[in-house]
Symmetry: C2
């Protein structure tokens, strides 16, 4: 990947793919995002596990840094889609640290993800909350197609209960 | 997996995991489902590709057969979930052929999928159309949690357009 940059009057943002050595900073930013979402309890992945995941070919995390300081990331995982018989890219998170928002960093992360995915013809898919209209407008401007769906989650505990019913 | 059975007055339904040798019948049933959904053009996966996918460890397809004749299937793919640092199971399809509906086959396929997933503590996730209230009621009875979300899809063509913008 090229090292794209976004210049402002005072500083420069670079985007690069994260590797195992970025585990600590990725984990820190994931925890920041979880804290903003009120979902800290959901994120208990230790740094060593992040290092292992960031070394995988099917995991793509891009880090945006302003003057060398990480200001955001986008994360995604390749996944086989049976109907196409081909992989798609399931986007997990797009996060920009508060001080760097509304400066084009989110858009830069998404277009850099596209620069990686488009040559491989990878469809990118993700979900957002129904009431997050700002995100919907942002992604619509990027050219994503948005549809309201019902998403089901069946936990292992609920599965066991159904087996015993 | 055990070979579970569902007895009716006249016949018996068995569920088993599909392998590469089941590629043709799985492909036929996927095409039937696509035709019912009005989405035939989306399914162009050849039998050989199905055979390769059905040989993968991360692909789980269960086939229900009544007196040896395939009457339905459920399909899912394991996928890493970064926030958990663990795999989840992304369900693709649950399909029962028309003549065998409303006889418990769909429930049997789902509980057999749970019998495979629960011991591995795999969360199962999937999406359905907002207006498919029958499916929502069915999955709710199984113990799945349902949430309305906005799902975004960003095609490679739209990604390229965003890169050129």
């Amino acid at each position: 990947m090229q090292s794209p940059e976004l210049r402002t009057a005072e500083s420069r943002v670079d985007v690069r793919r994260a590797g195992p050595g970025d585990a600590a900073v990725v984990r820190t930013m994931v925890n920041e995002l979880a804290a903003e979402d009120g979902a800290v309890q959901e994120v208990g992945v230790p740094t060593e596990r992040w290092a292992a995941m960031l070394g995988r070919d099917d995991v793509v995390v891009l880090i945006a840094a302003r003057d060398g300081q990480p200001v955001g990331y986008v994360s995604a995982v390749r996944k086989l889609h049976l109907w196409d018989g081909a992989d798609i890219l399931a986007l997990d998170d797009l996060y920009v640290r508060e001080a760097s928002r509304n400066a084009g960093v989110g858009r830069l992360l998404m277009t850099e993800l596209a620069r990686w995915a488009a040559p491989q013809d990878l469809l990118i898919r993700w979900e957002m909350h129904e009431d997050n209209t700002a995100a919907q407008a942002f992604y619509g401007r990027l050219g994503a197609t948005l549809r309201t769906k019902v998403v089901a989650a069946w936990t292992a505990a609920a599965q066991r209960a159904a087996l015993e019913a």
